[in-house]
């Protein structure tokens, strides 16, 4: 094989930051080629995808609106990934957060007051955390792999929400559409910018990132997470097992996903509907990796992935390509990132191998 990987003496710090840039550049190149193959001028198409959606104030507000759930979920997931806890169930935790928050909003339908909206959000956090407690319990008590259990619960959550809006929570004045009542103004998040859908909840994203950063870099728990993530055995020798890390990271990630879900239904959607998320829980996994599992990095990567959502919308209208192009681009970014990450620990050499071929 002409391509050979030569181990670096120590991981390259520069490459940790360069890899996402390389991945984004490669995605743009391949995206351009893809558009050209579909018969579009690549530059016009890429501009329609990545620039035009954010060339207006409304577009920018939508960018922040979509980046918020990604960032909230992403920072939570990243904390777990650092500790080798693979929560793939954020989509389900988001949905249960939306159900719990929406349930609270419907329960408080007849009352008004400033305290209603915080109750909705708190219910969302509690719902998401409680749902994430299931894989945590199954992992710590029965050693069941949290990747598979948390993922299975995504399907269960979707069906549960579907049952609620088709059945008991269906709006009595909704002409039999599978939707709940519209929430009252007290339950909704106040708008931050008039004329847009941008609500105050967007502020939770930097707040959550900062809180997560404090946990990671300043707390003993954050230290435990990192140790368990690198060498589980070392944790045991030092006197702390993975149990606390599993519980904390899953509940923390679940709570943030639940908050994101409650903010979707108490924000731009304003009621419970069968589908409350365009896959934020899955895209947030990409956001976590692209942001280098660092809370502030994830704020940036969430903006990029939100831009891809907007670009997918725009391309559907302007270029008549299916919205699924969003997932194609998001998947491409992650692939290129994983490929570029090899440069952190290795140098690539294009010559004949010295030792036995691998």
């Amino acid at each position: 094989m002409p391509l050979r990987l030569e181990a670096r003496a120590e991981p390259s710090r520069a490459m940790v930051f360069a890899a996402p840039v390389i991945a984004i550049a490669a995605t743009l190149c391949l995206g351009g080629i893809l558009f050209a193959a579909l018969g579009f001028d690549p530059f016009t198409a890429l501009a329609a995808f990545f620039i035009e959606p954010v060339s207006t104030v409304y577009g920018l507000s939508e960018l922040l609106l979509k980046a918020t759930p990604l960032a909230l979920i992403g920072v939570g997931l990243a904390l777990g990934f650092r500790g080798n806890v693979w929560n793939i169930g954020a989509e389900g935790q988001l949905i249960i957060g939306a159900v719990a928050g929406g349930g609270m909003a419907l329960a408080l339908y007849d009352v008004s007051g400033l305290w209603v909206m915080p109750c909705v959000l708190a219910a969302g956090v509690a719902g998401g955390a409680a749902y994430a407690a299931v894989p945590a319990l199954l992992r710590t008590r029965f050693h069941a792999n949290e990747i598979l259990t948390s993922l299975m619960l995504n399907y269960v959550a979707t069906l549960f929400l579907g049952w609620l809006v088709h059945g008991p929570w269906r709006s009595p004045e909704g002409y039999n559409f599978p939707e709940s009542r519209m929430f009252t103004d007290s339950a909704l998040l106040p708008l931050l910018v008039e004329g847009t859908r941008l609500h105050v909840g967007v502020l939770f994203a930097p707040l959550a990132a900062f809180a997560t950063w404090v946990i990671v870099s300043r707390s003993f728990l954050g230290f435990q997470i990192k140790v368990i993530g690198m060498t589980p055995a070392a944790g045991s020798f030092a006197g702390f097992g993975p149990r606390r890390v599993i519980w904390f990271t899953l509940m923390f990630g679940g709570g943030l996903a639940g908050l994101a879900g409650a903010m979707e239904v108490a924000g731009p959607i304003g009621q419970l509907v069968p589908i409350v998320s365009p896959g934020y829980g899955y895209t947030a996994i990409i956001a976590a990796f692209l942001g280098r599992l660092h809370p502030f990095g994830i704020l940036l990567s969430s903006l990029l992935l939100a831009l891809i959502y907007l670009g997918g919308d725009a391309a559907q209208i302007a270029l008549a390509v299916p919205f699924a192009v969003t997932q194609v681009f998001q998947g491409m970014v992650l692939f290129f990132l994983l490929a570029a990450d090899v440069l952190i620990r290795y140098r690539v050499r294009f010559d004949a191998p010295r030792s036995v071929a691998s």
């Binding site: 990987l5 050693h143 069941a144 792999n145 579907g162 997932q327 194609v328 998001q330 998947g331 090899v342």
Partner: protein, 311 residues
């Protein structure tokens, strides 16, 4: 039992086998991949790509054999992408598998957009003369299409391969201890690539079965979690083909029973019944994982670990 009941039972058994077939293909493929020490979580993506490729080929009128081959090839192509990242470039296997699933869901939806709503004729059943008329089990075992028959053969064939053949022994050695296998002189990466590609082709076949036979149409995300259920089946099977096929039929049974329960109109919401396969997966995982040593003893020791040659 009355004749009518016997006929219903026979139909339910046949439907169970059909529901189990995609799970059997995907789980058996992943089982081989994992036996070689590689954890590929991208089954859902490979399955969907297999489904869309097979459906597209059949829809273009190229016939069933090329369609099935296209399904397997699409799954293997996705697996090759995984191999490039996880094996050659030594990236984290969990992350690569997740990426493959996310990407496959998106790419299949993108490629299949124009195929939505198009019809194909379902893969025809090939009844075995005489045997297909056996009451109760005849329809399930001998009145099926070619892919179902292939899935019947796959488990014993893989059992023989893994435990009776020399190549199977090498594959398991690579999965148990890649450093030792490398020291003896086996090409660890070559074996792993072969296992990954085989797993991808099997997932592609699972997808082809879905879009050509099980529900002969293309719908976005039509695998609806079967790839993930198949992953759970591999754990449930403690990495043994015979138990994997058993698990697949168990889940086929759950799927068909919940579908029938929906049509019988027992007073349970359809959504609650549709949750059953997913909840059953969780339950089965919990039951099997409860005994930690059992999993540790049976799981390939190098599962998910990166191999560095010349270390």
């Amino acid at each position: 039992m009355s004749d009518a009941e016997l006929i219903t039972l026979s139909a339910i058994l046949a439907a169970m086998v059909r529901a189990a077939t995609p799970l059997a293909f995907a789980a058996l493929g992943e089982l081989v991949t994992e036996r070689a020490g590689v954890l590929n979580l991208g089954l859902e993506g490979m399955m969907l790509m297999g489904a869309v490729a097979a459906f597209g080929t059949a829809h273009a009128g190229w016939g069933y054999a090329p369609a099935i081959a296209a399904g397997a090839a699409a799954g293997a192509a996705m697996a090759a992408l995984f191999g490039l990242l996880a094996l050659t470039l030594r990236a984290n296997q969990v992350a690569c598998g997740l990426a493959l699933s996310i990407f496959g869901v998106g790419l299949s939806a993108f490629l299949g957009k124009s195929l939505i709503g198009s019809p194909v004729t379902a893969l025809p059943a090939l009844p075995v003369p005489g045997l297909a008329e056996i009451p109760v089990i005849g329809a399930a075992l001998f009145d099926q299409d070619i892919l179902v028959y292939a899935s019947f053969l796959a488990a014993p064939a893989l059992h023989w391969f893994l435990f009776k053949s020399r190549r199977g022994l090498i594959l398991r050695a690579v999965g148990e201890n890649h450093d030792a296998a490398h020291a003896i002189g086996y090409g660890v990466l070559r074996v792993r690539y072969a296992a990954v590609l085989f797993g991808g082709a099997m997932s592609g076949l699972a997808g082809a079965y879905l879009s050509l036979a099980y529900t002969p149409m293309w719908v976005e995300n039509m695998s609806s979690g079967r790839g993930w259920i198949a992953l759970a089946l591999v754990v449930f099977a403690t990495w043994r083909p015979s138990r994997a096929i058993l698990g697949a039929y168990l889940f086929g049974g759950v799927t068909i029973l919940q579908l029938h329960a929906q049509s019988w109109g027992i007073g349970v919401p359809s959504q609650a019944l549709a949750m059953l396969p997913y909840l059953a997966t969780v339950a089965v995982l919990v039951l099997i994982s409860r005994d930690e040593t059992k999993i540790k003893l049976n799981a390939p020791a190098c599962l998910g670990k990166v191999f560095h040659s010349g270390r």
